[in-house]
Symmetry: D2
Subunit: 413 residues, 4 copies
């Protein structure tokens, strides 16, 4: 019997797989058969098997989103919750100021909140971290040292030369550096490691760039303007007085992150003379990124205008770009990861899409939407990207990364 | 085998019935068993039976919501679509400027749009009307004359002395006037009739008022201020320049509608000497309603502050009011109507709820939320209501009304 | 030569006095002569005389508004600035995160910021306090003890039985309690005292209520719903995630403040057997106030729906109410206070006014706007009020209170 | 006696000239003397002389802004109003749905509205057109043929080879083509002509580009993303349902306009062999513009991110760019045009500016604000521009254009 059969339509629908709703095929798309094949072949896990997970920073914005997203996951079960000392000891429903538009899952409502110490998470196979950057560094290191697999949304280890920075629809191949990361410990770790996911705005742009590089070879330069939603700043985050009827054309550190992270994600892994692995930062074919980041009065969903110049001359046409984006299938899909979107990149044909309010929840926010693919008079091609900053731009990325790590045997159950 | 078994979890979840998510019981609520009993006993329809329905005004705001809501309905199937002459002849996806946050259902995408003429709807058992008031009167009359059952969201027939004005969580007993309505035609109609549902703001307030009258006897006066979302005005509706960073303290005709409709809905049906039935407009115990209606910069969900004075002295305490609201079970639930909410009235304990953005989609917007039940220094008790103006305040009301009409045999299949 | 002649058109215009703009008379208003008479007779101050003032909490929201408003004041000159220890020692432009839509006044930009200690304010005749409630109590007491005249926007002393709570368009007569307040000190103060102004929402409703009581005698009950702007919560104040596309139906403590402050403001001052003066809290004719306070996504300007029942039977008609509101002239106008509005109450004839975005800056926000005066089916009459929460609801109230205190000789120069 | 002396502080302040407020010099600016020199030398008009003007499309968004802006103009007097047949014959206050935040000027309130026919405008020296594009073409042609000087905000004649497209802070030299435009009529016109101003987004970008080209020679390419306010779409314009909590990444025709208009404005005027003058469209040094235009939930003020590549190698540094922007003085200032801003380009030093809500009304919206000047990794330099789309982006442009035409004698009084 197939896995899909066990799960039933409900779960499938909850994660953006073929239900009557999400299967509606937009004009210009090839019809897909309604039974997604990869559900029948979900690598690394047996039917009915469950995997305990923990959530660090469980009361925060990203922590809440982890919990909401995992409510109907086929095998991840929220087992332990960590938050600040102030919350420790309380039932989750008492500790959290829940701000999601769905109620607290019944299975989590009464779980106790612990301090973020590894001892409370010993029964967890995976730990998702939604911690703030100011505390994430030490806590995540302690969890790794306790031989736990940490999937972090924080920025603390993104620049670490032994920690992969993985956008799950792009560079899951970078998990190959985990053995080296473990070996650096004394004694070497057996199971523990840290994997980070990228900044939400970076995530939005590297997914289409990865598709374009796969189809057309290296991108040479890329100019981006972001219009980022307030939820990207967490809670309380952006004061309403700062952003009502307004735009703030600056987000501290954001442009540098985009310009740097993109190189690590889209680059490969090379080997030094001494045999150590190292991220090559796209060095073989230098890639110049220039980002202008702004905050806009939108709740969820970052919109980005992107102009691209390819190394290849003549460059691909807008129509070829559109087709390459559509055709892009990341490893997370091939491996049957249940939280991966059906369309990694949804390509809109209408001139006025994507729009954050209408499109951010498509496929539970697990893919990106691209529209307005057209010629750029200065570079080669330009388009608009929409990325759900809280889902694929944050919690969903960590979740799929963990699914991939299981599917590829990096985590053994 | 139970109906729930056939439907599977997916449908149930889609309509707000017990899924892991919607079953999460808030503090202060009695636990409910996860298998809602009335699903096993859905009156008036056999397992697996399907019912063709038509949608008039299918390209408009309310029409779109009908179509989105019916996507996963257990027995209603969208069969025919009507819109203005401009749209007639096109495929639905070409005719509509779809503004919902879920894609057009695949089963509707390619349906042809017809002119709003009965001949195209002959195979429909039920016709839902989301027509604008300026055209609804004539078209709905023609559909009734063609012996079709019309459930209308338009205001055209709300004041008609033979047309029931039904809020499905309040006065489904008013369906009893349908035989009289049919008999007025020459020759008398066998199947055709019109049922209207109420204005969205009226709907929000009559549901808790009905609960209070059931528990404590007549309400004597009620003072309401509404803060109404822009979606209540349809599309294009309210210009952004009028409502950004603003409140408009006036909605033409709205206060009169609230003050009048409430009397028809909460009143009973009496009999004249000649044996004709007539709505009594709550005449036995006069009820004074005073409403102040405002438009606020919110997309969906009307918030209303309500102060109530009871006839009974001493009046019930806030705690008694809270319990009465919680305990309220309308006929639509007893009859097992699939689109009825599990909680007709959700009572919030937190001081700062309900809030439209967080609470409007609870139970797919099919119930109302009440919070801040407390003493009023001028009348007796005051509270805050949130009603999803597009769901229970519009399309969902029509749908449940039709489900009730089937369950009670007013419509025979 | 007249005072107006000296000041020139610029100052006059800046404060809402007759310029071509503000003199435009709406339909239904009696024409007013363009030379406002009371400018010629500004009590308590000689032509050209200047008055040094200090601002406490100068870097906060209300402090910034004091500074912006006083930029073109005819006799108040910003002389000393106080803020938290963190800001002390810096130039104002370095200490403040200026959020006004006009630049920092040149004359204030380089003023040093001091700690909030009386020694730095010895040359000030008047001290305006925009301090947060958590520190205002002690600091304002220290300033009073140092024989300084403190006009406070904080709530700390509003309930003090010897401190007047003055809405300058309503109860400036309450300044008569100042001698008693001074006499309680040992030794009695010669100049020092504290005057508070009211909560912003209270201010909006007591101005029309005062007009109605003056014209028609006691009001018996009053039911209010407020829709309050985010600027009322200060900075950072309301997180954008809480209020975008949303309404929060609760503001801690606000309803109690409105219900209580109204009684102190609209009441009189009685005398005990021992000869002490005491606020009578409207006790002679009990007044019941019931308020429901909500936060709405508006930047500035609180909108309030108000229903009123008069003691007098039959009650006045809506037209009589409209005329009484229009005719209302508070003492601050009679005394020629330069920051007093020309129309204490502007009465709109259009159905859809007042609106915060369009009307909040009329007369620099120094008056209130009333619209939609009509019958109430439950009480007698209902209407809509708009009050600029940051101007007459906060800083402007303190400023006019000080002007009145000078005009009446409570402060001697 | 100087002109400033006659006008008094009020007028000067109203137009952004040195008042205590607008003279406040931001950090990093050279102090300017508070008496702006060019006020003493306002070309083309004598002290006290008044000029009758007419407004076409007077009830529309741009028409209202013309009227609000001209309220305190030193010599332009609103004399005749034109609108659609529906409004003709009414008093202005009855015909208009006034949406400005200041009241209708008293001097305009009772003016009659005429049909847009030249006979009603015979006493006008200048006619400002805020007509919609669908009617502007014929009406403006008729007014020109009636020998009237038309300054139009409509797009109808922007591409006309004999009509100058003038951004008044950039290319007032293009007025030199007016004699040729007049000569094409039979018989040649003595006074009539049409001058258009640019699209609001174009206006924002050409002002800094003009400053850069003046300082550093030709710009080679320019990549722009706009975030445009809803007021740019007129009234009713953008439905709130389309733009609340949303971004629409498409504005029909806007990108083409920006890419084309920029060439006409920044280009020069050449001469054909036959001696006719022609706009050279920047042909000598080709300029490539690529724009991505989006609509954002902001009421007023377009924000634009701009990246520029210069022809000159090496390119100027960000600091040199900043200085060049600051130093830029357009002819409209040199000529003493009263509506010209004091700073054509205000350069912000703070990282998080310009912001539309805080900066759009600086200098009554007559200049542009630039911030975040920094290196671009793909082109040379990037920065953020804010332009008030309704003022310098529309009505103010027409007004300054007319002032320049008077100052240069193109219009003779």
């Amino acid at each position: 019997m197939s896995f899909a059969g066990i799960l039933g339509r409900d779960f499938v629908g909850a994660l953006g797989f073929p239900t009557p709703q999400s299967s509606s095929v937009p004009p210009g798309f090839l019809p897909t058969d309604s039974q997604s094949p990869f559900l029948h072949d979900m690598h690394g896990i047996h039917q009915g098997e469950l995997v305990n997970i923990g959530v660090l920073g469980a009361t925060g914005t990203v922590g809440q989103r982890f919990i909401a997203l995992l409510e109907s996951h086929p095998y991840f079960v929220v087992h332990a919750l960590g938050a600040s000392a102030r919350s420790a000891g309380k039932a989750y429903s008492k500790a959290v100021n829940w701000k999601q538009t769905t109620p607290i899952p019944a299975s989590v409502r009464d779980l106790p909140v612990h301090a973020c110490e590894p001892e409370h998470f010993r029964e967890c196979v995976v730990v998702f971290s939604g911690l703030d950057a100011d505390v994430a560094g030490d806590i995540e290191a302690a969890f790794r040292a306790a031989d736990l697999a940490v999937f972090s949304n924080a920025k603390s280890y993104r620049r670490d030369p032994h920690v992969p920075l993985i956008v799950p629809l792009v560079n899951t191949s970078h998990l190959s550096i985990i053995p080296q990361q473990r070996s650096l410990h004394t004694p070497p770790l057996r199971k523990g490691f840290i994997v980070t996911n990228a900044n939400c705005s970076t995530t939005g742009v590297v997914i289409p760039l990865a598709a374009l590089e796969r189809a057309f070879g290296p991108v040479e330069s890329c100019l981006i303007t972001t219009m980022q939603a307030v939820s990207g700043a967490g809670y309380p985050g952006v004061p309403s007085l700062d952003i009502f009827d307004n735009i703030v054309p600056y987000i501290p550190g954001e442009e540098e992150k985009m310009e740097w992270e993109t190189l690590k994600i889209l680059g490969g892994i090379g080997e030094s003379d001494a045999g150590a692995q190292a991220f090559d930062m796209h060095a073989g074919t230098p890639l110049r990124i220039s980002a202008s980041c702004t905050r806009v009065p939108v709740i969820e969903g970052h919109t980005e205008t992107v102009s691209v110049r390819f190394a290849r001359r003549p460059p691909p046409s807008p129509q070829q770009v559109r087709e390459a984006l559509l055709a892009y299938t990341p490893e997370a899909q091939t491996l049957g990861c249940p939280s991966a979107p059906r369309h990694a990149i949804y390509v809109h044909e209408e001139d006025d899409r994507p729009q954050p309010r209408l499109d951010r929840n498509y496929q539970q926010g697990a893919g990106v939407s691209v529209g307005r693919v057209r010629q750029c008079r200065v570079l080669d091609v330009k388009f608009v990207v929409l990325v759900n900053n809280v889902n694929i731009g944050a919690a969903t990325s960590s979740i799929i990364n963990a699914e991939v790590a299981i599917a590829k045997g990096v985590i053994t159950l």
